[in-house]
């Protein structure tokens, strides 16, 4: 168990080292192995946290590396989500880089940089989730911004440089606000025990959770606002979302899959853990109000901007804002049922969004146009990519049998039970508006006739991808998303423990 804690960091770091040395194709496949290793480490952590020896409470975490890394069921759930999405995205990266190389769009060295940065990005997310210390969590989240900046700007076009610039500036400033909040928490924590001044322990999740009720309320109120604003920026919640559609639409598709699918959730994981601490210090009303504002604001913004959307990768980016809004809504509701729904939503959304972005990337490669209006009847011109994108969109819309159906249903039930029926009702009206907008755009893109002068150019035949393994990761991702909606199986006990930790604090 103790050794398994290093796995989620060691696998991508090893992947990065190998990617820096091996030839491109081998390196690309090695990075798939590294991502699978990350997933395996997540599953190992999960079995380790759930099946503790009798006598020890299942919720106590395990820590290593001088107490810097720590894992409990909530960590294991997030690591598993990161690993699952990473496996899909890294596999898709192999074919993405192949396609780029064949089209002559891959300058020397840029494939290597891409592979190394993706692995470092995965390592940073693992550190963020495994950090036992709120300061280290902050450092890892800010590091993800730095590492992904060049991935967003990978294509070196005007638009991608613009997106990368906005991404780094807005996220650094936003995450900076969260650091100010972290300092306020630290000031409150060392005030409870002055001899811990300068001691790292005062910033541990466990210490803060145990002493939540003793922390100075006025300082915690200030801190809660700053933390929500700061990590909310990185999680893409309105009104701090401005960087998200640009960055997620300009990054290469597999990177968008990782950023949309898990990075947003990793940033939100901080809010999830902080919430029980703030609730202990301030009572449940304060953070709930702030989160409800962010949740309904994000849903409203996503619904409005989805209606008039013209670019299909931006469409998926706004759909991420919508789903982060639902996750924030579930967190605002609180309690074990709602938080279990939130965690299931994180995993289900991660998988479905990863497949959707990778499918959209294939479509973009085939048609050469990012505009919804210029892609028509894709089901007959690029059937596999279009079908996978279509199924992923169905999953994102929250239709059965996919996981998002189960999680949204549980979320609504928990909301009504908690007396927040009005917020849930309002949220689902907005979700319905987004639903209609996405269906309209997706139907236009996928169905209809192909006789379109813009997509079928006789002079220049469209790039026909070689079949083979390229569709395997996407199909696997969709199968996983559907399976999770039907039967959780062994994951059920992990989900229950993780939701309990999120609801009642780290112990």
């Amino acid at each position: 168990m103790e050794l398994a804690l290093f796995g989620p960091v060691a696998a991508p770091v090893a992947g990065a080292v190998l990617a820096a040395t091996l030839p491109r194709r081998v390196a690309a496949w090695t990075s798939v192995l590294a991502a699978a290793g990350l997933l395996a480490a997540g599953i190992a952590l999960a079995t380790g946290t759930v099946s503790r020896p009798p006598g020890t409470a299942p919720l106590h975490g395990v820590s290593v590396a001088d107490g810097l890394l720590r894992a409990d069921a909530l960590t294991a759930w997030l690591v598993t989500a990161v690993g699952a999405v990473a496996t899909v995205a890294c596999w898709a990266s192999v074919h993405h880089l192949d396609d780029q190389a064949r089209a002559g769009e891959l300058p020397k060295g840029s494939a290597r940089r891409y592979l190394v940065l993706v692995q470092l990005f995965l390592a940073c997310m693992s550190v963020a989730v495994l950090a036992s210390n709120v300061g280290l969590f902050w450092v890892a989240v800010e590091a993800t911004t730095v590492v992904t900046a060049f991935l967003v700007g990978h294509q070196r076009t005007r638009a991608s440089i613009e997106a990368a610039w906005k991404y780094v500036v807005l996220c650094s400033v936003g995450v900076g606000i969260a650091f100010l909040g972290t300092i306020c928490v630290y000031a409150a924590a060392i005030a409870t025990a002055p001899d811990t001044a300068g001691a790292r322990a005062a910033l541990d999740w466990t210490y803060l959770s145990e002493h939540g009720a003793q922390l100075d309320p006025s300082l915690m109120r200030l801190s809660a606002g700053l933390i929500l604003l700061g990590f909310g920026t990185k999680a893409g919640l309105a009104p701090m979302h401005a960087w998200l559609p640009d960055a997620h639409s300009q990054a290469p598709a597999p990177v968008s899959a990782l950023m949309s699918g898990v990075l947003l959730s990793v940033a939100f994981y901080g809010i999830l853990r902080y919430k029980s601490i703030f609730d202990a210090a301030l009572g449940p009303g304060y953070v709930r109000t702030l989160l409800l504002i962010a949740a309904l604001g994000s849903l409203a913004l996503a619904a409005v901007l989805l209606i008039g959307q013209r670019d299909y990768k931006r469409l998926l980016a706004y759909s991420s804002i919508e789903h982060m809004g639902l996750i924030a809504l579930g967190t605002a509701i609180g309690g074990r049922l709602a938080l279990a729904a939130v965690l299931l939503h994180i995993l289900g959304h991660g998988l479905a969004k990863a497949v959707a972005f990778c499918g959209a990337g294939q479509l973009l490669h085939r048609t050469g146009s990012p505009l919804i209006a210029e892609v028509r009847g894709a089901l007959s011109s690029a059937p596999t990519a279009a079908a996978l994108l279509g199924v992923a969109v169905v999953a994102l819309l929250g239709l059965p049998p996919f996981a998002l159906f189960a999680s949204e249903l549980a979320l609504a039930r928990a909301g009504f039970a908690a007396g927040l029926g009005w917020a849930v009702a309002l949220a689902f009206v907005l979700v319905l508006a987004a639903f209609a907008a996405i269906v309209r755009h997706a139907a236009g893109m996928l169905l209809g006739s192909t006789v379109d002068p813009l997509t079928v150019d006789a002079e220049q035949p469209p790039h026909r991808p070689r079949p083979g393994l390229r569709w395997v990761p996407l199909v696997l991702g969709l199968i996983a998303a559907a399976a999770l909606g039907v039967w959780l199986g062994p994951l059920q006990s992990l989900l229950d423990s993780a939701a309990l930790i999120a609801a009642e604090g780290t112990r």
Partner: protein, 221 residues
């Protein structure tokens, strides 16, 4: 004057210098003038860290933090900024969104706001230096203001650095500084973020021929 009186005086002086340099950054528009201003601000911040370290019960770690802050804010960051500046020499805020007089008025307003917001931090902290935390928060707010109202790439980086200096000052004044491991991580992130922005500026100059963020208007809804 006792030793602790002297120490408090020195810290207050350094805080005054922090605020003064922040106002200076708001007042001057030439990028070449902003870099020395930030260096002086780095010296003031290092002085605060060093003075606190001299009093700190667990001295060694605090001294390491002070040395780290000094190396970062006085040597590395100005060096990186000079490299950015060399990419776009003679850069000057040509179309600032707010003129100098209004910016200075805004700075006064932001300082008052910082004073109001810092109340809980001052009340909770046992250390006497906590009374100076409004300076740190004022620096953060002025940094936001600079980043939001300036169009040049370099000026936005300067705004970001002002925010970071303000956060660091708040951390030192309210809590005697964050633990070493966190400080190390934060410093590494800062250097890398500035490096990334430097490379992006270089790419921007290569693609647009200019470091003017006003040209960044391609992506929108």
């Amino acid at each position: 004057m006792t030793r602790s009186d002297w120490l408090e005086q020195a810290i207050n002086l350094a805080c005054g210098l922090l605020l003064l340099t922040a106002v200076g950054a708001l007042w001057r528009r030439e990028v070449s003038a902003l870099i020395p201003i930030l260096s002086v601000q780095g010296i003031a911040l290092t002085a605060i860290a060093a003075l606190l370290a001299s009093e700190h019960p667990a001295g060694a770690e605090a001294v390491v933090v002070a040395v780290l802050v000094g190396a970062l804010k006085v040597v590395v960051i100005p060096l990186l900024l000079r490299r950015v500046h060399r990419l776009v020499p003679g850069a000057r805020e040509t179309r600032p969104l707010v003129n100098v007089a209004s910016s200075l008025l805004a700075a006064a307003g932001l300082s008052l706001l910082a004073y109001a917001a810092a109340g809980p931090l001052i009340d909770a902290s046992p250390s006497p230096t906590a009374r100076a935390t409004p300076v740190g928060l004022a620096l953060v707010l002025i940094g936001f203001f600079v980043a939001a109202t300036r169009q040049r790439a370099v000026s936005q980086i300067v705004g970001l650095l002002l925010v970071d200096n303000g956060i660091a000052a708040t951390a030192f004044l309210a809590t005697d500084g964050v633990p070493l491991i966190v400080e190390l991580g934060v410093s590494a992130d800062l250097v890398l973020a500035v490096l990334v922005l430097q490379v992006l500026t270089a790419r921007m100059v290569r693609t647009f021929g200019d470091g003017d963020l006003d040209d960044l208007r391609e992506l929108h809804d």
